[in-house]
């Protein structure tokens, strides 16, 4: 019997890195929305927050689609 440590390690590393990136991006996007809401409540435009949110959410989508692409393209 041989335990395929390399593959298990791969699952862990790939999982950890991709999840951390996704979660960080998503949470930052939510912060962006939150900044926008706060800025607008004080009469500002909140454009900076909105831009941050859009960039982060778009990056999230790209990351997920890239992951799926890796699986399908095999």
């Amino acid at each position: 019997m041989n335990v395929n440590w390399a593959a298990l390690g791969e699952v862990f590393i790939v999982g950890l890195v991709s999840v951390a990136a996704l979660v960080a991006l998503f949470a930052t996007g939510i912060r962006g929305v939150s900044q926008r809401v706060a800025a607008r409540a004080q009469g500002g435009t909140g454009a900076g927050g909105l831009a941050l949110a859009v960039v982060c959410f778009a990056a999230c989508c790209v990351l997920v689609l890239y992951g799926l692409f890796l699986i399908i393209s095999r």
């Binding site: 019997m1 041989n2 335990v3 395929n4 593959a7 298990l8 791969e10 699952v11 862990f12 790939v14 999982g15 950890l16 991709s18 999840v19 951390a20 996704l22 979660v23 960080a24 998503f26 949470a27 930052t28 996007g29 939510i30 912060r31 929305v33 939150s34 900044q35 809401v37 706060a38 997920v64 992951g67 799926l68 890796l70 699986i71 399908i72 095999r74």
Partner: protein, 376 residues
């Protein structure tokens, strides 16, 4: 019984197993979204069901692991596969009745191993492969998913600490819906594959396909459809356990837990690890609980679940072995096993009706507008 007819019976039984797999595992993907109110129960299962179907088409690596690996395909017959499936279905239904999120995959492997062992001896089971491809991932995957979910949950709360509460809660609801979709998709890439693997294995043992062949297209379509239908049927009993029983789940935790689970399952599917979606998702939910406040985790429920995990493979193996010793006696044996299987399944179904668990018990707020029952 002549071989083509028997093969047809096995294929039907495999699809029946896939159906039980679908409703047994609906909870995996949707429990947290339903529990936090991000999705209405019926919408959740419909979405999950479609994505399962899509997932079934994405990858066939896991199907190959099953059809070309854990048991010796030269030594077993369709009757053996049939017995193994009956073992798996019976165990799946029993755990569903008591609301335990046990692994459909382990039920399937257990059933097949038990049936093969009785029919052709221990040498026909590739124990090395079983350990490498089934047992090690079974232990490692929930731990991996749990650790990742813990880190992800911590990160999520840390990053959104200063953000507006309302934005956070509605934002993570959307995130949760997307991540639940990913889990469903991942479930399709891993669990639908298992049935495909079994049907392919049967076709190989019957000589309809060469050894080491991949699943034909009609097998992919029918297996994907069966699991999608089962998912739509909805396994409210297990959803209840996972969504409410294990730990209190908030939007950000559900999001972190599910994203972690989806990533682990998809990566493993890609590498051909037939891991248990159930274990991974439960590990993720536990990790999500731990990442926020460890005291929220219901360790007694977690303990019960782990016990069910440990028991699943051997228990299904015993049922599979008994079924196999009868089914391998020929046509009459197969008919007896089929009849007993149907009676047991009907009995479990009737028992479940005595104390039904409906979507309403999973979400007890105003969502109970549509009159829903356990059985559609």
């Amino acid at each position: 019984m002549d071989v083509p007819l028997l093969v047809a019976v096995v294929v039907l039984t495999a699809l029946a197993f896939d159906f039980t797999n679908g409703f047994h595992d609906t909870a995996n993907a949707m429990a947290t979204s339903i529990a936090t109110g991000a999705l209405r129960p019926r919408v959740a299962v419909a979405m999950s069901s479609v994505l399962n179907l899509v997932g079934a088409f994405l990858s066939v690596e896991v199907a190959k692991t099953i059809s070309g690996g854990i048991v010796d395909d030269l030594k077993i017959t369709p009757a053996v596969v049939f017995a193994g499936l009956v073992g798996a279905i019976v165990w799946n239904l029993l755990t569903w009745l008591v609301g335990l999120p046990s692994s459909s995959s382990h039920a399937l492997f257990g059933g097949l191993i038990g049936a093969t062992w009785i029919a052709s001896g221990a040498s026909a089971v590739h124990f090395g492969k079983v350990i490498e491809k089934v047992l090690i991932p079974a232990v490692a995957s929930p731990v991996i998913a749990g650790l990742i979910a813990m880190a992800a949950t911590y990160l999520t709360y840390r990053l959104t600490r200063t953000a507006d509460r309302k934005v956070v809660s509605s934002g993570f609801r959307i995130g949760q819906i997307v991540s639940a979709g990913l889990v469903s998709l991942a479930h399709g890439t891993n669990d639908a594959q298992k049935t495909m693997g079994v049907i392919t294995l049967t076709l190989i043992t019957a000589g309809a396909l060469p050894s080491n062949a991949g699943p034909p297209v009609w097998v992919i379509i029918s297996a994907g459809t069966a699991i999608a239908l089962g998912t739509y049927f909805g396994g409210w009993r297990i959803t209840h356990t996972l969504g409410k029983g294990l730990t209190t789940i908030d939007g950000p935790q559900g999001f972190a837990a599910q994203t972690s689970a989806a990533a682990v399952i998809l990566t493993s599917s890609h590498l051909g690890f037939a891991l248990s979606t159930t274990h991974v998702v439960s590990g993720g939910i536990l990790g999500g609980g731990l990442g926020r406040r460890a005291s929220n985790v219901q360790w007694s429920t977690a303990g019960r679940m782990v016990l069910a995990w440990v028991l699943t493979l051997p228990a299904a193996a015993v049922v599979g072995a008994i079924a196999s010793s009868i089914a391998s006696r020929g046509t009459a044996g197969v008919i007896v096993v089929a009849a007993v299987g149907i009676i047991v399944a009907a009995g479990i179904y009737l028992a479940s009706r005595r104390k039904p668990v409906t979507p309403d018990s999973v979400v007890n707020d105003e969502l109970s507008l549509e009159p829903l029952k356990v059985a559609a």
